[in-house]
């Protein structure tokens, strides 16, 4: 992991950017090599930000799960060696916003992944697709954007308190 200090948020998240305590308009950020071995440092990074920013502990597991599912998707489908994935965590009033930015990758809109029929019996169930299904269930908003010139994919998700002002 290459730890960032604090970086400015992406423009599409900047509107509500503020630390719940300090009202800072900054996000914690770090870069992770696109490999499964980066999962533990990624989870530690999330836990450290949650502790330092005073985020609700009960959000940590769903946020970590969404981060893992999106990150492992990048690892699986991102192709050969490329730049580290940039991960940013920002606190907003009533919520937290996480952005993962991957470079030199093809377009794949995770928000358009096929739905999983979770009512199927055991013999018809397959594990594929569950990661994005779970991500959509556990977070309050999932967004995808792609810059074809830079071949850069950006996935952002938000977790909000009930009635916390989701936009």
């Amino acid at each position: 992991m290459q730890r960032g200090s604090r970086t400015q948020q992406p423009a599409d998240l900047r509107g509500r950017a503020a630390n719940a305590k300090s009202r800072s308009s900054e996000a914690d950020s770090a870069r992770f090599a696109p490999q499964i071995g980066s999962l533990m440092p990624l989870m530690v990074f999330a836990a450290e930000v949650f502790a330092r920013r005073g985020l609700p502990p009960e959000w940590l597991a769903p946020v970590q799960l969404a981060m893992e599912e999106l990150f492992t998707n990048m690892v699986k489908y991102g192709g050969e060696r490329r730049e580290p994935v940039l991960v940013q965590i920002a606190v907003s009033p009533g919520g937290v916003e996480v952005t993962l930015t991957d470079h030199d990758v093809a377009h794949f809109d995770v928000t358009q992944a096929p739905a999983v029929d979770i009512s199927r019996p055991l013999h018809e169930r397959e594990p594929g697709g569950l990661g994005l299904h779970l991500t959509r269930r556990l977070v309050d908003r999932l967004q995808y954007s792609y810059d074809p010139q830079r071949r850069e994919a950006r996935i952002a998700f938000r977790k909000w308190q009930a009635g916390g002002g989701q936009q």
């Binding site: 533990m40 799960l65 013999h123 169930r125």
Partner: protein, 97 residues
């Protein structure tokens, strides 16, 4: 970290985090179980789709020979993941012992 080990006759205990990094080790262990097995997950803090995939493969394999994988003692975060994935309908889940 994740640990998985035999914990008595027909019981396997799993603890820690069953994520994409740990799922291969869990799969190797569970490939060695037979019959009807209770997986004591009371010390399992976290599970992702990779961990669910290992449990699903194990359940299918055991069911093919008349056995099954039961789960025991799921924490709330893990139980939520089971519910959101529909796995609470394909696994028998017991409360903690």
């Amino acid at each position: 970290m994740m640990t998985i080990e035999a914990a008595g006759e027909g019981v396997v205990a799993v603890a820690g985090r069953l994520d994409a990094a740990q799922a291969p080790a869990a799969e190797v262990f569970l490939n060695g179980v037979q019959g009807t097995v209770t997986l004591d997950a009371s010390r399992l803090d976290y599970i992702s789709s990779a961990g669910l995939g290992v449990l699903l493969k194990t359940q299918k394999r055991l069911a093919g020979s008349g056995g099954k994988l039961r789960l025991r003692g799921l924490s709330k975060p893990v139980r939520d993941v089971f519910a959101y994935s529909g796995f609470d309908q394909i696994f028998e889940i017991e409360p903690a012992a």
